[in-house]
Symmetry: none
Subunit: 237 residues, 2 copies
């Protein structure tokens, strides 16, 4: 099953959630996840804007954090138009669709709040950045439009979907990676690595980015957890 | 000049004309033509919905008939989802975009009224039918969405819309990576990680493999060396 999860991060208007649902279902995507929707959930404005895509809204799951929302996903994209200081691959909707069809694990695509877009911390958890190549002199893509372009590209590959190659070692689920990151951060805190305080968020982002990019499988993540445990033990005299 | 003309045939709501203009300009299309807009032209609802794409609206030309609107075009598409009794080629937005880029003359794409779509007489004047391949169980594409998908596909073939790929820095030289591996191995030896002895070569190969696969750049390798140094320092009490 290649259909990606569409994750709306802190969406503001119920109307836009409904429009995104409609855009999804137009191209066969049905799994929507909401992270901390501003006006709570369910939202009475969503249904009318969905123009009949109610089943997407009814199935929508709500999470408190991005990490919770993508814990079972191993191929995560952050949709953004802004340039970031993060070293990550940048892909078009077309390239993302191709990767999603080939990915052995679940894929998720993050979309930010209507006004501000994704925060840098949200982008840091993603394997890659998804950017719609837009008119550089007039970039004004709304949430539902971004969703529809991504869903449209995915559906094009679906029509001629080929059997997914069974890869021996798919990337570990995001939750495994989170465990590794937390383990390392804990040790580094004890070691006094995070200094000065105002650099800590950027330092943590950098670390997460460095550890996300490899796409390690579950066995590799376990190996690295073992390495950290060994380094964290009291040293033999 | 390959940019197609977007022709809205008997559009109903000014708001939708504005949204279509925004969708066009997002992907570099600027020439809109209106055939007998229901509420006349200009329409005060169009501007606000265009979100800044005013120049498309200001340049928009109004015609009484479809024939007048496409008189200077030699490659005309009728956008429709319904099957017709007409014998014409049916193309996807992608195929249409390819043809438009190759066409020697001007191209135009007709979109029908919001509620009813193009009449059979409107479709008859087109060379081909353009159909967006949509979820057969939920076809609910509005005017601006249809326009944006067509504009997006056209822009993919356009130089201005080529995404500027942020190339990740090239992987660090092998010597840098060797330094990282040696650093970690040294610490793990001190920690008593390498045991039993007969498994040591395989364990080292695994570690090297895990650290080689990411293709980290020189900066990332430096970051990780710093992490190891922090973990290797005597712990603060």
């Amino acid at each position: 099953m290649t259909a990606p999860v569409i994750v709306l991060v802190r969406p503001q208007l119920g109307e836009n959630i409904g429009k995104a649902a409609r855009a999804m279902l137009n191209f066969g995507l049905t799994e929507m996840r909401l992270v901390a929707p501003r006006d709570g959930w369910p939202n009475p404005q969503a249904g009318p804007a969905a123009s009949g895509a109610d089943m997407v809204l009814e199935k929508a799951q709500v999470f408190e954090t991005v990490a919770d929302a993508i814990a079972d996903c191993s191929n995560v994209y952050a949709t953004t138009v802004r340039r970031r200081g993060l070293v990550k691959p940048v892909v078009t909707p077309e390239e993302a669709a191709r990767e999603i069809h080939a990915a052995p694990g679940r894929s998720a695509i993050l979309f930010g709040p209507e006004r501000s877009g994704l925060e840098t911390d949200d982008v840091a958890v993603a394997r890659a950045i998804l950017t719609v190549p837009i008119n550089p002199e007039f970039g004004s893509l709304n949430l539902a439009q971004a969703v529809i372009l991504v869903a449209y590209e995915w559906s094009k590959g679906q029509a001629l979907a080929q059997p997914t190659l069974i890869e021996a070692d798919p990337p570990a689920p995001q939750a495994d990676l989170d465990g590794l990151v937390a383990h390392l951060e804990g040790m580094l805190e004890d070691a006094g690595y995070f200094f000065p305080p105002d650099r800590v968020p950027a330092t943590k982002r950098t670390l997460r980015s460095v550890l996300t990019r490899p796409g390690w499988n579950a066995q590799e993540v376990r190996t690295l957890r073992g390495v950290l445990s060994a380094l964290g033990k009291p040293r033999p005299r």
